[in-house]
Homo-oligomer: 113 residues x 10
C-alpha cells in the first residue's frame, strides 16, 4: 500500500470539517477474485496533520488488486488514516455496487464528532 | 435453505454499520402458490462474525420455491441471521410488490442500535 | 362484508411493523349514490394474529357498493381490524380523490406505537 | 348501461379536438369476478353532436359491476360513443392497473384524424 | 353564505384527523373588485359532528362573488367551521395566486392539536 | 362580455408568435349551475391588430357567471378574438379541472400556422 | 417611498401567520449604479393592523430607482413594516441574483415567533 | 436607449450560433405605468459584426423606465439588433411574468436559419 | 490579495443573517501547479461592519494564481474576513471539484451562531 | 498556448463519435479584465489522428490569463483542433456563466456530421 503523506494542519487551533470522496474505488473479492467497485467517503476533524490528497489517491489505488472484504477494507482505511493523522474525529463510509443482486454499505467511525 | 457462512469480524473492537440490500427476492404465496417479489434490506452491527455475501445470496435464493407469508419470511431471515451472527444489533425490512392491488412492507429488529 | 381471516403471528415475541396499502379502494357516497375512489393504508404491530392478505383484499372490496362517509369507513376498517386482530398498535389512513373540486384524507389510530 | 346523452355541436363548421379522461374507471374481470381498475381517455373530433359529460360519467360508471375483458371494454366504449355521436374521428385508450404483476394498455380508433 | 351541514361524528370516542382541500377557491378583492384565486386546506379533529362535504363545497362557493381580504376570509372560514362543528382542533390555510407580482399564504388555527 | 380592445400591431410586416395563458379561468356548468375551472391558452400571429392584455383579462373574466359548455367556450373565445383581431393564425386551448372524476381538454384553431 | 397602508386586523384576538412573497423586486447598486434583482419574502403575525397588499406592492416598487445595499434594504423594509404595523412577530428575507458571480441572501427578524 | 456597440466578427467565414439570455429584463406597462418583468433570449448567426455584451446589457437596461407593449419591445430589440449587426439570422424571445393572472411569450425572427 | 473593504453595518442593533456564495472560485494546487476549482459560501452575523461585495469579489479573485491547499484557503478566507469584519459569527465552506477522482469539502466556523 | 498532441486514430476505417467536456474553463474578459467561467464541449469524428487528453487539458488551461471574447475563443479552439487533427467533423460549444445578469452560449461547427 502506498504510504499516506501528511502536511501540517495549517489551522490546528480550530475544529473544522474536511471531507474527501471518490467514486472510483476498486478492489477484488477475496472469494471469487472478481473486481468490486464502490465509493469511499472520508470525513474528519484534523489535529496536527492533514492527509495530502495525491498520496490519498495513490493509497486508495493501492487496493486495486488486493482481495479484501467490504467490512475489512472500510475499517483498514479508517485505521491507516487514524494511524497517519491522529485526527480528533474521523468517519469512513464505503458504498459498494451490486454483486449477485445485492448492494452493500459499510460505515465506521473513530472518536466522537 | 442454504447455510449462512460467516467470517470473523475483522474489526470486532469497533461498532460499525453494515448494510446489504437486494431487489431480487422472490418466494411463493402459501395460499395461492403464486410467486411473490420484493426487496430485502439487512442492516446490522457485527459482534464476532460477519455474514459472507455469497452465502447470503444463496440463502436468500433458497426461498424461491418456498411458500411463506411476508410476516414470516422477514422474521425468519432475521432469526437465521441472528442465530448465525449473534450481532450487536440487526434490522430486516421486506418491501413486497403489489398483489391484488395491495403492496406490503414488513420491518423487524433485533436488539437496540 | 367478507370476514377478515387471521393467521397466528409467526413471531409474537417481537414488535415488528406490518404495512399494507392499496390504491384500488372504492365505495359509494351515501348522499349522492356516486362512487368514491381512494387509497387505504394499514400499518400495525401484531399481537397474537396477523391479517391474511387475500381476506383483507376481499374485505376491502366489500365496500364497493356500500354507501358510507369517508370519516366512517376509515374508522370502521380500523374497528373491524382491531376486533379481528387485537393488535398492539394500528393506524388506518384513507386518501380520497377529488369530489366537487375537493380531496380528503382521514387518519385514525388505535393504541400507541 | 346508462344512455349517452348528446348536445348539438355548437361549432360544427370547425374541426377541433375534444379530450375527456378519467382515472376512476372500474369493471369486473369476467374470469375471476375480481374488480379491475384503470383510466379511460376519449379523444375526438365532433360532427353534429358532442357527448354530454354527466351522461358520459354515468355511462362509464355503468361498467362498475359488469364482467368484461380489457380488450372488449375499450372497443365497446368506442362503439357506443361512435353510435351516439357519429364523430369525424375518435380514439379510446384504456390503461389498466397491475394484475398478477402485469399492466395493460388498449387503444382503439375510429376514422382518420 | 350557504349553511354548513353537519352529521354526527360516527366515531366520537376517537381523536382522528380529517383533512379537506380544494384548489378551486375564488373570491373578489374588496379594493379592486377583481377576482382572487387560491387553495383552501381545512384540517381538524372532530368532537360531536363532522362537516358534510357537499355543504362545505357550497359554503366555499359562496365566497365566489364576495369582496373579502385574504386575512379575513381564512379566519371567517375557520370561525364558521368552529361555530358549526365545535371541533377539538382545527387549522385553515389559504394559499392565494400571484397578484401584482405577489403571492400570499394565510394560516389560522383553533385550539391545540 | 367585456369588449376586446385592440391596438395597432406595431410590427405588421413580420410574422411573429404571441402567446397569452391564464390558469384562472372560471365559468359555470350549464347543466348543474356549478362553477368550472381551467386554464386558457391563446397563441396567434397578428395581422393589423393585437389584443390589449387588460381587456383580454376582463373579457375572460366575463365568463365567471356564464353557463357554457367547455366545447362552446373555447370556440366562442376563438371566434370573438378572430372577429376582433382578424389574425393570420390563432389557436385556443382550454384545459379544465376534474369534474365527476373526469378532466377535459378542448383545442380549436383558425387558419394555418 | 410610497406609504404603507394598513387595515384593521379583522381577527386581532388570534395569532395567525401571514406571508407575502414577490420575485419582482429590483433596486440599484449604490456603488455601480447598476440594477439589482431579487425576491422579497415577508412573514408576520399581526397585532392590531395588517398591511394592505396594493400599498405593499407600491412601497416595494418604490425601491426601483433607489441606490441601497442588500443588507440595508432588507432591514429598512423590516423597519418600515414594523413601524407601520407593530406586529407581534415579523421576518423579512431577500434573495438576490448573481452579481460578479456571487449570489446573496439576507434574513432579518423582529420579535420572537 | 444606450447604443449597441459591435466588434468585428472574429470568424466571419463560418456560420456559428451565438445565444445571450437574461432573466433580469424589466420595462413599464404603457397602460398602467406598472413595472413588467421577463426574460429576453437573443440567438443569432453573425455576419460582419457581433454585439458587445456590456453594451447589450446597457441597451436592455435602457427599457427599465420605458412604457412599451410586450409585442413592441420584442420586435424593437430585434430591429435594433438587426440594424446594428446585420446578422445572417436572428431570433428574439420575450417571456413575461404573470399580470392579471396571465403570462405572455412573444417570439420574433429575422431571416432564415 | 486585494484588501477587503467594509461599510458600516446599517443595522448594528439587530442580529441578522448575511450569506454570499460564488461558484467561480479558482486557485492553484501547491503540489502540481494545476488549477483548482470550487464554490465558496460565506455566512455571517455582522457586528459593526459588513463586507462590500465588489471588494469581496476582487479578494476571492486574488487566489486565482496562488498555490494553496484546500484546508488552508478556507481557513485563510475565514481569518481574513474575521480580521476585517470582527463579525458576531461566521462560517466559510469550500466545495472543490473532482481531482484524481476525488472531490473535497472543507467547512470552518468562527464563534457560535 | 500549449501545443496539442495527437496520436494515430487506432480505427481510422470507422466513423465513430468522440466527446470531451470540461466544466472548468476560465479566461479573461478583454473589456474589463475580469475572469470569465464556462464549460467547453468538443465532439468530433476523427480521421487520421485523435487529440491526446493531457495535452488538451494543458491547451485549454492556456486561456486562463488570456483576454478573449466568447465568440472568438470557441472558434479559436475549433480552429486549433481542426488544424491539429484534420477531423472528418467537429463541433465546439462554450456555455458561459452569467455576467451582468446575462448568460451566453456559442456553438461552432467544422464539416458536416
Amino acid at each position: 500500500m502506498a504510504s499516506l503523506e501528511v502536511f501540517a494542519n495549517p489551522h490546528p487551533d480550530r475544529d473544522y470539517i474536511i471531507l474527501h470522496q471518490t467514486d472510483e474505488f476498486t478492489s477484488v473479492c477475496p472469494k471469487t477474485g472478481q473486481p468490486d467497485f464502490g465509493s469511499i467517503q472520508i470525513e474528519y476533524i484534523a489535529a496536527k496533520t492533514c492527509v495530502e490528497l495525491k498520496s490519498l489517491k495513490f493509497y486508495l489505488q493501492g487496493y486495486r488488486n488486493v482481495g479484501v472484504f467490504y467490512e475489512d477494507v472500510v475499517n483498514r482505511i479508517l485505521n491507516d488514516l487514524v494511524a497517519a493523522l491522529e485526527p480528533r474525529w474521523m468517519a469512513v463510509t464505503g458504498s459498494f455496487t451490486t454483486r449477485g443482486g445485492m448492494r452493500s454499505v459499510i460505515k465506521a467511525e473513530h472518536g466522537k464528532r
